[in-house]
C-alpha cells in the first residue's frame, strides 16, 4: 500500500507570509480524501506540494518513505497524477486518442498495447465518440474526464485533482465523481480532491481535511467532521442542506446522523413507517 506523508510541512511565497503552516497528513492509496477550505486557505498550494511542483520550505514530504526533494518531477509523475483546475493547460496533442496515448508513448509502451489501452480507457470514461476530436473542442465536463483519463491510463498510485467539479452542471458533476469513486474502489488509486464545494463530499469521500488559514482545522472521518459543529461555525463555512437537516433530526429526534439523501430518506421512511 502506497502512502503520501506530509510531516510538519510549511510553505511561503514570500518569507513573511506562510501560506501553509506545519501541516501533517498521511494519505493512503485506498483513501478518497477531500481537502476542503475557503478561497485563499492554501488548498492549491497544498496540491502543488503534494504533486511535487513546490517543495516544502520546512518539514518533509515523503512518497512511500522517500523524500520528495530526492525525486524528480518526471519520476513523481509516474506515481502521482495531477489534474489542474484549468484542464486546458494539460492538453498538448490534437486529438483525444493521442492525448491519452501521449504518456504511454513516452514510456515506450508497445504500439498494439497502447491502442488496446486507449480503447479501454475511452470506453471507461465514455469518450469513445470523441476519440478523433480536438481536446479543446470538448465540453467542460468531457475535458475534465479526459484530463482524469490521461492520468488513469498511466496507472499512478494517487491522483490529485484541483477543483474537479468547478464549472460542471449537476449531471456532469455526478458523472465525474462516480468515475473518481470507481477509480478509487476498483483500481485502488488514491484520490485527493481539493475543493470548496462540500455538497458532494459526504457522499463520495472517505476522509476529510479542513484547511483554514494555512493549517488543518480538522482531519479524519467525514461523519465525525460534520458532527463537530464548532469547526464549521468557527470557519463560517456553510454546510450542505442535507447535513443541516440530518443534524437537526439527529439532535431533536435522535435519528441516526445521515450523510446523504438516500440514507436520510430511508431512515425517515423507517421511522414514519413505525
Amino acid at each position: 500500500m502506497a502512502i503520501l506523508q506530509l510531516k510538519e510541512v510549511s510553505y511561503a511565497y514570500n518569507q513573511d507570509n506562510k501560506v501553509i503552516k506545519n501541516i501533517s497528513l498521511d494519505i493512503l492509496s485506498e483513501d478518497f480524501w477531500a481537502l476542503v477550505g475557503a478561497n485563499g486557505s492554501g488548498k492549491t498550494t497544498l496540491a502543488k506540494i503534494l504533486t511535487g511542483i513546490f517543495q516544502p520550505l520546512d518539514g518533509q514530504y515523503l512518497i512511500d518513505g522517500k523524500n520528495s526533494r530526492k525525486i524528480t518531477l518526471g519520476e513523481l509523475g509516474t506515481q502521482i497524477g495531477f489534474v489542474q483546475q484549468n484542464s486546458i493547460k494539460q492538453f498538448f496533442t490534437s486529438s483525444v486518442n493521442q492525448e491519452i496515448a501521449f504518456g504511454l508513448k513516452n514510456r515506450k509502451v508497445e504500439r498494439t498495447k497502447i491502442e488496446r489501452t486507449v480503447k479501454e480507457i475511452l470506453e471507461y470514461f465514455s469518450l469513445e465518440k470523441h476519440k478523433e476530436s480536438h481536446p479543446l473542442t470538448l465540453s467542460q465536463g468531457e475535458r475534465k474526464r479526459l484530463a482524469v483519463a490521461c492520468m488513469v491510463v498511466l496507472k499512478p498510485k494517487f491522483i490529485i485533482l484541483d477543483e474537479p467539479t468547478a464549472g460542471l452542471d449537476r449531471r456532469n458533476k455526478g458523472l465525474m465523481l462516480d468515475f473518481l469513486k470507481k477509480i478509487n474502489q476498483q483500481d485502488r488509486i488514491g484520490i485527493v480532491v481539493i475543493t470548496h464545494d462540500l455538497d458532494w463530499v459526504s457522499s463520495y469521500a472517505s476522509k476529510l481535511a479542513v484547511l483554514a488559514n494555512g493549517g488543518i482545522a480538522y482531519q479524519g472521518e467525514i461523519r465525525k467532521a460534520f458532527l463537530q459543529r464548532q469547526i464549521w461555525h468557527d470557519l463560517q463555512f456553510p454546510l450542505p442542506q442535507i447535513i443541516e437537516v440530518s443534524y437537526k433530526l439527529h439532535e431533536k429526534f435522535n435519528l441516526p446522523f445521515c450523510l446523504d439523501e438516500q440514507s436520510l430518506v430511508r431512515e425517515l421512511k423507517r421511522v414514519l413507517g413505525k
Binding site: 524528480t72 509523475g77 494539460q90 498538448f92 496533442t93 513516452n106
Partner: protein, 223 residues
C-alpha cells in the same frame, strides 16, 4: 538615470541597436557592449539583471556559435553573438519604464495609439507566453516524462509536439484579449486624450542630443 524620460531611454536603445546592426567591426561592437552594460547598470542600479539575462541566453549563444562556425566562420559567430548581447542588454533599460509611460512616449513620436498599445501588449505577452510554456512543460512532466533523461532526438520531437499547442494557446489568448479590449471601448473614439503627460527635462534634452550626435559621429568615422 531611472527617472529619465522614456523617449530618452528609447533614443539610447535605438542608437545602440542601430549601430550594432549597421557595423560588424569586432572592436566597435566590444565598445558598444561596454557602453550598453554601463548604461544599463546605471539605469537599473544593479548588474544582477544583466547576469541573469546572459545566463538564460547561453544555450542560444552556444547553438549560434556552433552553427555559424560550421556554416560561416568563427568571426561571424562572434559578431552575431555580440550583437544579440548588446541589443538584449540595452533593451533592459526599458524595464525601468512603466507601460503607460512607454505608450505615451510612442504616441508623442506620432505613432498611432493602436500600434503603441500593441507594442506594449506584445512585450507583456512575452511573459505570458513564458508562463504558458512553463505550465506545458510541467504538465508533460506530470505525465511521467523525465525531460532531462530524454535523448536529444526525443527531446527535439517532444519540443516540436509542444510548440503547436503553445502557439495555438497564445493566439487564442490574443484573440480573447482583443475582444476584452474592444469590450472596454479601446477604439470607441478616434481621438484619445490623456491625463498623464510626459515632460522632457534638461537632462533628457542633453542626453538625447549627445546620443544622436555620438551615433552620427560613429557612423561617419566607420563608413
Amino acid at each position: 538615470m531611472n527617472d529619465l524620460d522614456p523617449r530618452t531611454k528609447l533614443t539610447i536603445i535605438l542608437s545602440l541597436s542601430s549601430l550594432t546592426i549597421i557595423f560588424d567591426k569586432f572592436f566597435l561592437l566590444c565598445g558598444l557592449l561596454l557602453i550598453s552594460i554601463l548604461l544599463t547598470w546605471i539605469t537599473i542600479g544593479s548588474y544582477i539583471a544583466i547576469v541573469r539575462i546572459l545566463e538564460k541566453m547561453w544555450p542560444l549563444f552556444l547553438s549560434l556559435a556552433i552553427t555559424l562556425t560550421i556554416f560561416a566562420s568563427f568571426s561571424e559567430a562572434l559578431t552575431s553573438i555580440l550583437r544579440i548581447i548588446i541589443i538584449a542588454i540595452s533593451a533592459l533599460i526599458l524595464t525601468t519604464t512603466s507601460p503607460r509611460d512607454f505608450i505615451q512616449a510612442l504616441l508623442s513620436w506620432r505613432i498611432p495609439y493602436e500600434i503603441a498599445f500593441m507594442v506594449m501588449v506584445a512585450t507583456r505577452f512575452l511573459f505570458i507566453f513564458r508562463e504558458e510554456a512553463k505550465d506545458t512543460f510541467l504538465a508533460v512532466q506530470m505525465r511521467g516524462v523525465e525531460i532531462n533523461k530524454l535523448k536529444y532526438k526525443e527531446k527535439i520531437e517532444l519540443y516540436i509536439s509542444l510548440l503547436l499547442p503553445l502557439v495555438f494557446s497564445a493566439i487564442s489568448k490574443a484573440y480573447k484579449l482583443a475582444i476584452a479590449m474592444e469590450a472596454r471601448g479601446l477604439r470607441a473614439y478616434p481621438q484619445r486624450s490623456f491625463f498623464r503627460q510626459l515632460r522632457l527635462k534638461k537632462i533628457d534634452y542633453c542626453l538625447m542630443a549627445s546620443t544622436i550626435l555620438a551615433t552620427v559621429i560613429v557612423i561617419f568615422i566607420n563608413i
